[in-house]
Amino acid sequence: MITVTDLRKVYRQGKMEVVALDGVTLSVPKGSIHGIIGHSGAGKSTLVRCLTLLDRPTSGSVSIDGTELSSVRDSEIRAARRRIGMVFQHANLMDSRTAAGNVAHPLELVKTPKDKIRTRVAELLKLVGLEGFENAYPSQLSGGQRQRVGIARALASDPEVLLCDEPTSALDPATTEEILDLIQDLTRRLQLTVLIITHEMNVVKRVCDSVSLLSRGRIIEHGALQEVAGELDSKLARALLPLPPSEPLHGALQRGPVLEILFSGESAKEPVLTGVARHFDMDLNVLAGSVETLGGQQFGHLRVQLAENADFDAVLHYLHERGISAKRVAADAAAAEEGAN
């Protein structure tokens, strides 16, 4: 369990103060994976540096299982760091060390006996599926294999928390899947608390139990994946269930009202659209849609064109009665969308 409370980091650039983190609060329970998503410049790197104590936060606290990390004395900072294992975007392995040597590195730092290192390294390499690669140098490994070594190294000191900074951003799609599977598997097996910092929504969809959206140093939305995905107005839902590019909205709006619908869970299994068509005896036209399984639950996000003379409020009422969020797409939304494109 990792808890971050009101974390602030202010940098000084000459006379200017730059607020990189502006009161970040989050909490991740043991055995679960939390995604932190944000554009570059949102404060992701600063957050990582504060969590690993490479930088001291200006105020606020970071604690693991109730032990305060952010205020430890300098002499204890190294022991505190060993409670967090870190996986980097480019693995950051030592080129002069073999796979086994890299995994042994954190163990050497605390003078672990040689034979103990050997058995532990073999165990860890097996855990990440790299048996037989003990003597390979990083240059002889593929990107995915290097990342596996990086994960094994991060786990060497038996950390409670695994912090992954863009762990798959440098990998191809197939390898990304493999590495995410591995992280998910390890989380369950070792009961780790995992934080994944990423800009890829796909990573969040694939493995995260909960997610936070970081923007300008603040967490502007957060929650379990199923919760945030079920809210039609949230930015995260729009990012998790993006609508594919389709006909410009203002064109569609001229033909009749446009409705945006979000199904989740049980409601996603019911034939709602045909229900509306039959109930109101009118034709519907699906303009765009996306359907996903997130956190084991079905989600659907649709943009639907209604007939020109449709009783909009009645349709909305019908949908809300069945636990489906829906809203009318207004002309100003169309303008905003065009602006964004």
Binding site: L54, R81, N92, R97
Partner: protein, 223 residues
């Protein structure tokens, strides 16, 4: 060709000159690495943004000592350091005395090369080492020096090659060795054979050093 083997100067003075050159280069290379390596590490680590920034000390060492020493032409530095050589070795003549000024002349040069080798170690590796709980000394020994070892060997090779050149100059002011041989016989007596033989020997020496250095560097490089 016969000339080379029958030349009395070469027969008598060449073996001794070779030994003196090797001695000068060997001794000063040893001290250059012994002092220049820690100095280079210190310059890198105490620089702004380094592992342990010490702005004032770094400024003094970097600007005052290293840059001033490096900006004095070696021929002049060598002469200026004769009193120091005498104080340290009891004499101002011979290869051992010359090694004092050779070392002092090349230590700042090597330290700068070391500094730049360390700067090339990817910062992510240092982050990784710190996150796993390394002390600063462990970062220096297990990451910075270990990861830049191939580059450091290449830098040492360049330094030793430079030392061969400097040692020839040192020969002129009492250091002895191949430089003195070439100057005394080749220049002052116009003995072309001696001149050519010494040049060839120096070239061969440089080639051997370069070759061995590159081999070692490549053997250590796993990138």
């Amino acid at each position: 060709m016969n000339d080379i083997f029958s030349n009395p100067v070469l027969a008598r003075a060449l073996p001794e000159a070779i030994m003196e050159t090797l001695q000068m280069v060997g001794i000063s290379a040893f001290f250059t690495v012994l002092i220049g390596l820690p100095l280079g590490v210190f310059l890198h680590v105490t620089a702004p943004g380094g592992l342990r920034p010490m702005p004032v000390t770094n400024r003094i060492l970097s600007d005052v000592i290293v840059n001033i020493t490096r900006s004095i032409p070696f021929a002049i530095l060598m002469v200026a350091l004769i009193p120091l050589a005498r104080a340290l070795t009891g004499t101002s003549l011979g290869p051992i005395a010359a090694s004092v000024s050779l070392s002092i002349g090349t230590i700042p040069f090597f330290a700068r090369l070391v500094e730049s080798c360390l700067r090339d170690v990817h910062h992510g590796k240092i982050d990784a080492a710190q996150v796993m709980g390394s002390t600063n000394m462990q970062v220096i020994s297990k990451v910075m020096l270990r990861e830049s070892l191939p580059a450091l060997v290449a830098a040492a090779t360049t330094t030793v090659v430079t030392l061969v050149g400097y040692s020839a100059m040192a020969g002129l002011v009492g250091g002895g060795g191949l430089g003195k041989l070439a100057y005394n016989y080749g220049f002052q007596r116009f003995d072309v054979t001696v001149m050519i033989v010494t040049i060839v020997l120096i070239v061969v020496l440089v080639q051997v050093i370069q070759l061995v250095g590159e081999r070692i560097s490549r053997g250590l490089d796993h990138r």
